[in-house]
């Protein structure tokens, strides 16, 4: 039978490997190559310019601005999302009143779980339409409407959420948190349910309050999931293309007002399809790739703890 094994292996691997290599890996490699040229994208003529694109890149103020925004998102998105999700997961699983028979979740946790997770299945286009309406710059927007209603805002002078340099990035961050919390809540819930109930009861017997139970028992036992969540959120924070390009002002892929919501992905796309600087866009791609790599490794390193078996 052995003689038939290798043809089978090759036969099964051939199509997947070819597809994956040609359409995914090869473009990545080409990105490196093109990043050393002054290629415009339109014609096939290009000149080798060495590292010039990279040196230009580091002097490019818009690029630095975009990078700064991505770093901000990289810090705040995981922290806020994970904390909210952990808090909700704790409430849903062990936050109920411990009167009879120990530890349980609050009432209606099934309902909350269904509702909280729902935004995760909505596509970015739906999010864009939804939040353009929510953040509308006049009092017809939901957010301004609420603020006017409760008297916190003058209807003649509403906040232009997505046009205000001070608020635009945070508004976008809020959308991603809004969408993501339910997902990580379910992720953490699954992990919490795999913790034996006796552990919580032992804590309870030893007189631990809810806060202590959370920080001393739940958190350490969930560390693996938190780590996974961190990496996923970090990758999400490096993207943000769809929201920025659809919701913010600015010619070609948003980023306004005045680059205050510019992120790396939108700047890359503008250079590529609008300015026709493909080589430059490729250099940007390479830099982002390296940053993503460093961030992922860093996130895995920093969050590494001794694994607790239970």
């Amino acid at each position: 039978m052995r003689h038939r094994k290798y043809p089978f292996i090759v036969g099964f691997l051939f199509v997947p490997v070819v597809l994956y290599t040609v359409l995914m890996v090869w473009p990545y490699i080409q990105t490196f190559g093109y990043s050393l040229t002054d290629w415009s994208g339109e014609s096939q003529t290009m000149h080798f310019v060495g590292l010039k694109n990279y040196t230009t890149l580091f002097g490019d103020t818009v690029f630095r601005e975009a990078l700064l925004h991505n770093v901000l998102l990289l810090v705040f998105l995981p922290v806020i999302t994970i904390l909210l999700a952990l808090f909700f997961a704790f409430m849903l699983n062990v936050g109920g009143r411990g009167t009879t028979g120990g530890v349980q979740g609050v009432r209606g946790s099934g309902f909350y779980r269904v509702v909280f997770f729902f935004p995760q299945v909505l596509s970015v286009a739906i999010l864009a339409v939804l939040f353009e309406a929510v953040y509308r710059s006049d009092s017809g927007g939901l957010l301004n409407g609420i603020l006017v209603k409760i008297g916190l805002e003058n209807p003649q002078n509403p906040i232009e959420w997505l046009n205000d340099p001070g608020t635009v990035l945070w508004c976008l961050l809020a959308i991603v948190v809004w969408q993501g919390v339910g997902f990580y809540l379910v992720l953490f819930s699954a992990a919490m349910q795999s913790i034996p109930r006796e552990v919580f009861e032992a804590a309870l017997l030893d007189g631990a309050g809810r806060g202590q139970t959370f920080f001393r028992v739940t958190m350490p036992l969930l560390w693996d999931s938190v780590q996974t969540a961190w990496v996923y959120l970090a990758i999400a924070a490096m993207d943000f293309f769809a929201l920025v390009s659809t919701l913010t002002p600015g010619t070609a892929y948003g980023g306004g007002p005045d680059y205050h919501s510019e992120v790396l992905s939108t700047y890359l796309m503008r250079n590529f399809l609008f300015y026709g600087k493909s080589g430059y866009a490729c250099a940007m791609g390479v830099v982002i790739l390296l940053i993503t790599l460093v961030v992922s490794v860093f996130a895995l390193r920093v969050t590494r703890r001794e694994r607790i078996e239970f």
């Binding site: 490997v17 995914m24 997770f117 693996d224 996974t228």
Partner: protein, 310 residues
């Protein structure tokens, strides 16, 4: 789960039962602090639920309002419940967008599952040189956002004449879904028992037949999870169709997928003063996901989160 567990001390005699009174007082303390926290936590949970449901309902309601109402105050109620806006949205091509998306997804998800599990199966169950290396080669792709290699990918498809074609987008989706699918199915095939496979081989079954008739049915739960993950992931793609599915000439038919089409509609409707139609379009786009989510919510949650667990 909110089911209280059985009292572990029940029926145990001897020294442990003397801990009874102390335990009761401990529990009371936990419950005491719980009462305050309970109101607090319920408040938070309810608030978050409102934050999720309110904007969605509000925008859906908006598709029954008039354009003047939407531009006015946020708190008006539709005057008459006509489906005119839905008709207009449909005429503007929302039906077509849904159809294009469906065409792409049927093939792209189907092929992703087929090729992904073929590769994962061979890597997980057969020993050969370069096995590990090939596995990491596949999995490494999951770390990077897809827009990094967009420039070369665009020109590669252009050279193949596959821009704005279904087959082009389908192949790209398959390639980009490969890392995760292989990663997930690899882990799944490893957990399956070897006995059945061996029995099939002893009965003279070929490797290929053993895969399709023995292993694939066994791997069904894994296939469902990763299938849901891929459907949602590809349904939500934005930057890839935006770049790869542009009309190539005046006579090139429009093949926009839903995300792209809806965003285009959003950019247009601002000028045409037809916000209700946009909201109606969003509602139409949301309904299929909502139905699928509510009917399979357990599988969807399990499928999406299983993806992140190692």
């Amino acid at each position: 789960m909110s089911t209280p567990i059985k009292d572990p001390i029940e029926g145990v005699d001897g020294p442990r039962s003397s801990a009874g009174p102390r335990r009761a007082s401990q529990q009371e303390r936990f419950a005491d602090s719980g009462r305050v926290l309970n109101v607090f936590s319920h408040g938070f949970l309810a608030l978050w639920a409102v934050l999720i449901v309110l904007p969605i309902l509000w925008v859906v309601l908006g598709s029954f309002k008039t354009d003047a109402q939407i531009g006015g105050s946020a708190w008006t109620w539709p005057a008459d419940w006509s489906f005119g806006a839905f008709q207009r949205a449909w005429d503007k091509g929302v039906g077509g967008f849904l159809l294009h998306t469906a065409i792409v997804l049927v093939f792209s998800v189907g092929l992703t599952m087929l090729f992904g599990s073929m590769a994962a199966y061979v890597l997980a169950r057969y020993e050969f040189r370069g096995n590990r290396a090939l596995y990491f080669f596949f999995v490494a792709g999951a770390m990077f956002p897809p827009y990094l290699a967009l420039v070369p990918l665009f020109f590669m498809l252009k050279n193949f004449g596959m821009l704005n074609t279904y087959q082009g987008l389908i192949l790209v989706y398959v390639a980009y879904s490969m890392p995760f699918t292989v990663f997930f199915m690899y882990a799944f095939f490893r957990t399956l028992p070897t006995a059945l496979h061996e029995a099939a081989m002893l009965d003279g079954c070929s490797h290929t037949r053993a895969f399709f008739q023995v292993m694939m049915p066994l791997a069904k739960p894994g296939l469902v999870s990763v299938g849901i993950f891929n459907v949602l992931g590809q349904w939500n793609q934005y930057i890839l169709p935006l770049t790869l599915m542009q009309k190539q000439s005046g006579t090139d038919p429009d093949r926009s997928v839903l995300t792209q089409g809806l965003v285009n509609l959003m950019f247009q409707s601002g000028y045409k003063n037809d916000m209700p139609a946009l909201f109606a379009g969003m509602t139409i786009a949301m309904v299929p996901v909502l139905v699928v989510y509510l009917s399979f919510q357990r599988q969807v949650q399990a499928g999406l989160t299983a993806g992140t667990l190692k």
